[in-house]
Symmetry: D2
Subunit: 290 residues, 4 copies
């Protein structure tokens, strides 16, 4: 018979869980506070916004729409990790500043990606939460750098990272003294080609079991198809996710980046209503502005 | 911008959908009728039972429990595809007969696996639905053989089959004249080792888009951990699955096969109550005995 | 420090090796004899021929060419496992008979695939060696059936099979009393898309370590590109393979199946000369007709 | 029939090759010069040394051994990307200095990894070649930074990177003006667990076809087992690799890192003799000190 010790590597395919992120060493859920919004409680936190910050109008319009529909944190990329050097690389520092401006105008805390150790200080000055993207999940100097901050970190799972490697990456941050880490399943790489990645929703209950850190899901990158975001977002909530991060664009057909996976305002608004129902069904509420 | 034609291989990672299973050639959902139970309607069908038929008591006790909790079809393996020749290989023909007996006593239609073309006729005589397991998804002589029946087929996705290959396997069956095919996502093989397989729930909306056939999910094999079955079962329903197939054992700790992923009677009963709520949240009912 | 016990699952990623195929239980290499040609000695056996048997001319012309260039066994598919039901499915029994005829005319033993338990007896009557294809590596009734023969079996690795599962599949055959099994690495499925599969040449030294059975390589299916066959065939020999199986067509541009990965007569002849040199470099000879 | 245009994405699984690395835009092989040693000619370059720089004795002893056996470049890690924060992280700047010292004493050019944009200038001052490790293959700020140097770069393939993504990563470097890039296959992540990674030797002919950059192989990380390094090193040369990078330790049983995959001095010496023979068999020489 199976032991009940889910930290036993023999049961868990060899996975051993490092000490600081391990739920055994801290049974209570960690609450991560992002500008007053709490991850890890019974309430589900919705982060939304465009893939990339493009210009003030795009950003502020999208921010207003997602806020009105119920998102409580604004996302937007300023430093964009793009596979090709010839793709739009983001607005950089200017983009970060525009994001803060939009955050202030709408009253939404903001999260944005940082890719370079040299930019950590700058981004930390402007953003409420720093994102470490999938491609940098094992960028250890960067993990150490954000570990020295006292700002929350959104650490996305690498697209080919095992659960063990993912927890070890989080451990790098906690080991520097920063416990404010939110994990995010965003799709792993498999042989399947109809979807951009394979969204591994089983990572949600698995991570919740192994660690005390909050776990959210990114169904936009996880699927790569706008029409798949609603069913997978609902599934993520049903599986026990503490939040969702989704791409929304006020005019998806004009997006400079990832338009095919960005929800339109109407789609996002409808989805928020549906998520409320699924949340109720599993005994949870969607986080709301007071 | 993305085209809305999800049968366009350029959009779908090269996947092209064969003609008979293609939703474009038959926009209405196919209803698969198994002993009066219908897959593919708005109602969600729950199949449950032990991994393997072990003996009369085990089977009939488990059958009564799953029926009482709300399952409408009984599963049980008699011909077991086991990785090792030294593992329990199932009771064979005797097991199939015991399964029918239990089905009759409880009034539940039964589904069981067939692995060998030579056994198709025999199994079809006793079972209400024939299962083609993951390892046989590309066993073309077997697909052709069940395609010549007029009995419903539960075709499980191969653990390393692309969506395209899966649809082509179903096409083999339809091409012989048998349209009564239910698809089943049951986990794919990836690099991750904490779970037995990676349950690819995104396959549910993807398959529902591409084909008119019903799509169900097997969270037991998909995760390999009993405690992960409830969250993933709920997620499957939220993602739009038309049904679930789950392993339940009246005494999981004594199971000859897969005890670590089989639900106990209490766990299954609680899960059924939860599934009802999640079903409602997405506008669906759990199929009930009239 | 690493233990030297490569059967220790702790070292080998959890892999445990079943008893009959295990080199520990039989340190000497098994010699598999196919119509007088021996696999598993210091000599490297070359199998060549068309993907599919198409007609007498194609087959006999190709057979003469590959024999002249140095191949010692003729391959050709009569029962073809094709992903789509609408692709050429092979000539079936007639193809098997044509293959034997070509084998007799040229004096080459023949190997061909069997997919259905019902056809094992027929194929065994005509062929010198029976091939179990990748898709059937875990077709246990088929493995048991060829295990009851006293004819050599070419068991190809499943495209999703771990080394452990592969050895367990071979164990099914040995467990029925048939020790005449040759293993064949033919590419596994990964995320990479430029090649048809990812030819896992590290499986060669790994299998040679763990089992006493001969191990050959199929660089045609493993790569899916004709121009990649020569470098990968040479690499396979350098890695220690006991043989190669390659697709050659007398007119690749007219092939009904897999023409893009079939060598032309000239390419094959040149490759054979190169293989001789690489064989020498690692202390081995290419098997020659006496 | 297959087109001969291997830059045609339709043939190559969707892979498109960016302009600067593309062999079509520069048919002649790029020669990369590392302290007088040339990659990309007909001669095969052997890089060897310890996983990590541990202390002066270990380094200088190992350097002498590998030089004597025929290696022409010395490798050694000072900044070590380790999955766990609790593993030895390398000696850092001190390690880089010790490596240069050992390089000068033995007359061998040195290559070492850089992980942090802030350290690029420092490492470039001391090393003859900068290595970008697998985990940083898509660390775009780092790629841009080494692209601005006029020092050769050893860019290892990410363990999850497609051939297309790998070429795009190299393009980032070339696009900044640095054409001195050597590619290195070092194993990809698959479902297989007996080896540390799956060494994808088919990447060698594929990359040589698509790009003018030199391609080498790392059989130490690619397999994770010392005893597999010799057969896979020979296979890499047979497949057309322009060089090899291997871990050698003067006392593998005492290594602080990766001892189980490091060759002993005797093993390395024997392997060098064998590589010479395989090189000859494919018409190439092993690069030698004049």
């Amino acid at each position: 018979m199976e032991s009940n010790d889910y930290n036993d590597p023999a049961i868990m395919g060899g996975c051993s869980v490092p000490v600081r992120v391990n739920r055994k060493s801290k049974p209570d859920a960690t609450i991560v506070n992002v500008g007053g919004i709490q991850f890890g409680s019974s309430e589900i936190v919705i982060i939304a916004g465009p893939c990339a910050v493009e210009n003030h109008e795009q950003l502020i319009e999208t921010a207003r729409i997602v806020k009105k529909a119920g998102a409580v944190i604004l996302r937007g990329g300023a430093f964009k990790p793009r596979s090709s050097p010839y793709n739009f690389q983001g607005l950089g520092e200017e983009g970060v500043k525009m994001l803060r401006e939009a955050g202030r105008e709408t009253g939404l805390p903001i999260v944005t990606e940082v890719m370079d150790t040299r930019m950590v200080k700058f981004v930390a000055e402007y953003a409420d939460m720093l994102q470490i993207g999938s491609r940098n999940m094992q960028n250890y100097p960067l993990l150490k750098e954000v570990g020295m901050l006292r700002k929350p970190v959104l650490l996305k799972r690498g697209m080919m990272a095992t659960i063990e490697e993912y927890l070890l990456a989080a451990e790098y941050i906690l080991n520097q003294g920063n416990e404010q880490v939110v994990l995010c399943e965003r799709g792993i790489r498999t042989f399947e080609t109809t979807t951009r990645n394979t969204l591994d929703l089983s990572a949600v209950p698995m991570l919740k079991h192994l660690t005390h850190l909050p776990v959210i899901v990114d169904p936009s990158h996880g699927t790569g198809h706008r029409w798949m975001v609603p069913p997978m977002a609902k599934a993520a909530v049903a599986a026990g996710a503490d939040g969702l991060i989704m791409e929304v664009h006020y005019k998806p057909e004009e997006a400079l980046c990832d338009g095919y996976q960005s929800l339109s305002p109407d789609e996002f608004t409808r989805l928020m209503a549906d998520l409320k129902k699924v949340g109720h069904a599993v005994g949870r509420e969607i986080y709301q502005h007071e």
